[in-house]
Subunit: 566 residues, 2 copies
Amino acid sequence: MSVRLALLHLTPSNAPKRRISNAMLVRIQFAILILLISLVTAASADDVAKRLVTLGDPARGIEPCATCHQANGGGSESIGAPRLAAVNAFYLAQQIDNFNDGNRKHSIMQPWAELLTDAEIAALSEYFAALPPASNARVPADSDPKDGEWLALDGDWTERRLPACGQCHGRLGSGVGQHFPALAGQPYSYLVRQMAAWTTGERTGDPLGMMGAVNAKLSVAEIQAVAAFYASLPVADSAVASGASSPGSSATAMSPPQQSSEPAPMAHKKPLPHQGEVPSGRLPGKAGHFNPPARGDKPGDAFGEEVALGERIFTQTNSHEISGKYVGNQQTCEGCHLDAGRLADAAPMWAAWVAYPAYRSKDKQVNTITERIQGCFNYSMNAQASEVGHPPAAESPVIHALESYLYWLATGAPTGDKAMPGRGYPKLAETEQGFDPQRGAAIYEKNCAICHGADGTGGDASDTMVFPPLWGARSYNWGAGMHRIDTAAAYIKTNMPLGNFLELTDQQAWDVAAFMNAHERPQDPRFAGVVAETAEQFHGSQFDYYGKREGADGKLLGTSSPGSAQ
Amino acid sequence: MSVRLALLHLTPSNAPKRRISNAMLVRIQFAILILLISLVTAASADDVAKRLVTLGDPARGIEPCATCHQANGGGSESIGAPRLAAVNAFYLAQQIDNFNDGNRKHSIMQPWAELLTDAEIAALSEYFAALPPASNARVPADSDPKDGEWLALDGDWTERRLPACGQCHGRLGSGVGQHFPALAGQPYSYLVRQMAAWTTGERTGDPLGMMGAVNAKLSVAEIQAVAAFYASLPVADSAVASGASSPGSSATAMSPPQQSSEPAPMAHKKPLPHQGEVPSGRLPGKAGHFNPPARGDKPGDAFGEEVALGERIFTQTNSHEISGKYVGNQQTCEGCHLDAGRLADAAPMWAAWVAYPAYRSKDKQVNTITERIQGCFNYSMNAQASEVGHPPAAESPVIHALESYLYWLATGAPTGDKAMPGRGYPKLAETEQGFDPQRGAAIYEKNCAICHGADGTGGDASDTMVFPPLWGARSYNWGAGMHRIDTAAAYIKTNMPLGNFLELTDQQAWDVAAFMNAHERPQDPRFAGVVAETAEQFHGSQFDYYGKREGADGKLLGTSSPGSAQ
């Protein structure tokens, strides 16, 4: 407000003249003063950081940060110091807290961390976050970064319910938000050490204990392979690192063995041997379910290319160049169908493929798989608000690619088997307490907000989707299957939090599903003008809040839907 | 012409007056004379027939026809005399010849047949053919006409390569053309006796020995069941009986247990036991191939209804009320995919379903099953000349039904298996002599013309299809797979004549395929104005005559295509 008034004072002569009172003049002068003070303060903080980085503070015994992290902030491979350049500032500051809390143990860092003031911590964090992307990582000569690609990008859901690293850190390790730091271009030696530390419990303090749970599932060889993969990747710029997982554009890593931001197409390496070890704490695997073909086993022909295209569309639906225009929110197919549609009990595509055509009560006719997919665009991906306003046509390249991918995933599955084990989400029994959004709010805050954001927006304002928005304009609409509390509860119970390492009780799953679906979201595309009528026609279920319950704004859900038809 | 002139003479006074010369008057009087003579002659033939039918010819010892065949021509159950009313006249006359030739043996009929003059045979044949449809058939009280339905309508291709009776006689036994007599409403006792006679060789003279071959595959119980089924059906009117297999409209059978012209939907009876007997002469079965679900095992729900609709469309594509408008010729899906798309080595649908999506060199992209089906409409069913001018859309009820049917046929088939045994037609090795339409012409005349007609039109001018037209406006177009000589040769070798009871040599199959495809047919829908260019672009194969060889009219094939875009 002050700045706007100051600008008003400088209005050019051809603008309408306004009389300026004395009182107003005082306010303007005050505003300018505030502006100048804040500029001086900023410069000062930067100076503080620069001094600490380059000179340290000999009086307190603090060595210059650059000694280990290097002047460019790219870290050091030889001493295992992390890259700090272009890493999220909140995350960096948090790590100093972690040293002080004992969540991180380090003989050199811990004493210094105690000495730093809050202002110094803030200054240093902002300083490094603002540095141009840089990496001093070097992969050991005897390791092939490609060995770890499959775990980093795809995880190992089937055998270990192990999510891909890229699922939270951004596919190519660019870092996501405040809690999931950049991995790309981190020194190999640092990554190996941290992953070992998570496994042993030497490092803690991770949200929901995710890193400990995930790393406990990895063998030493796998840790080394994943570390080599991310160390080899170019560093995305900080803007991207703070938000999205899209490929970085201005990588300046010193010696990335691979310079392209998207890994080149290659045959996937076979998983590394686990030497028969079953890490303690591993959840029951999914053995016994149908296994789709391995990702790397796509045929090397035109059909295989189509399958690969379908896989990319499946995982990047809202941002892919040929499918994005049909998506009216920030969702992807993979958001509801984990592991790129492969995972049993997470509505796997191999089970869906062999179950269609099928009669659906939703539209009271037999649906082909094409129509079933179009239904996902209509509802879960809110096509009504998309660039083109409708789902892809049956003849479109998007449908060609998706159907080819689904079909290929189902290779060997028996046609017509509408009850393959692992199909859909395992139905969750109702509880005595029913479901309650208010109870669910606390569960959400504790277990879900870290990824999906306290406001349910997925915590990411970029175009690409890392964590699916759960309500609001960027989420699925009132016609999507997930808006039903029973469906959402079933999904959550079996699959959330990602990897399901922290199992919720049935009651918690019901409550948090109710909380999620007690929020406003885009209008049901079948809406014909009157919410009560649409509610009666399509939302009669007891597990459905549409038109029945008030949202946060005190209006009946469905009556103030955002992100509806353009 | 004479009649028109006579009418001219009687022109009413308000018509323009014309001067009539003497010469013209003479011609008019002559014309009237001719007219009177012809009326008298016709009456005379009818009188001859009527006298023989009602009085016989006691002087020659010929009993009245009506004694056995009854005054209404509906035959007699008690003495096994066939229904003659509304039966094709050519066929009836042919039977007198058969008695005289010894092809049919009958102690009563043979002596009288010898006594009849050609004029009397012609008069009687015309007389009975022109009678209103009538049947005196009665099914034995202890037999259920439904028992034979499956053999009559569906045959038993899988086990015995046994075509359905309805395949040649018209689905509901209405009779087709001159060679395939009506079965509907024939006395049960007559039908059983004839089928037994074909089996034992007591009756012969059937074209290509078809009836002997077919009946040899039936057990006694099956013969009785099939006889009961057809005896129970209402008699179609003679116009239909002469041509088409569509349901009759004015049946006047005395006691048909079932009055609807289309058998009511019902669970199919299980095949009757064959008592372990393998009739001699039975060709090797198709055991070992994938078996689609039995026709009667469709689910009893909305999806099952969709499957049943798809099956009807598949077998009646060009005449079915919802698919006919997309068909620009006289073809059905079943014409190329025998046994309603079930038969191994006849391009079965269960093998096709699991093979799509797939890349096709035909359009150089990955095709979904929807597009593959649309391709059949485009080419084999010449949609360009159809009522709507294009194939059914992906969202259409026709595609819904066909895909549901194909999918259901593939129940249990492994998704993605692109090489199921029995898929497509078994490739036919090339022969040293190559292929030659002129050699093929003689083979066609001898083995194929009986059904498909000497002129390749399918021998049937009605809207429904009994035998697929092989060339001309009513046949597949120049873009259909069947226009390729290698494809046609493979199909013919394995599947023709129907049931393959008369196996052609490889050389014969090649030659007759070449003959068939050396005829003009509807234009390739990809034609863009210049045959030479279309030929170069799409017809480069050595097995393809389009744009390369002259048709019967001396013009290059493709340059005078009939039945092209409306």
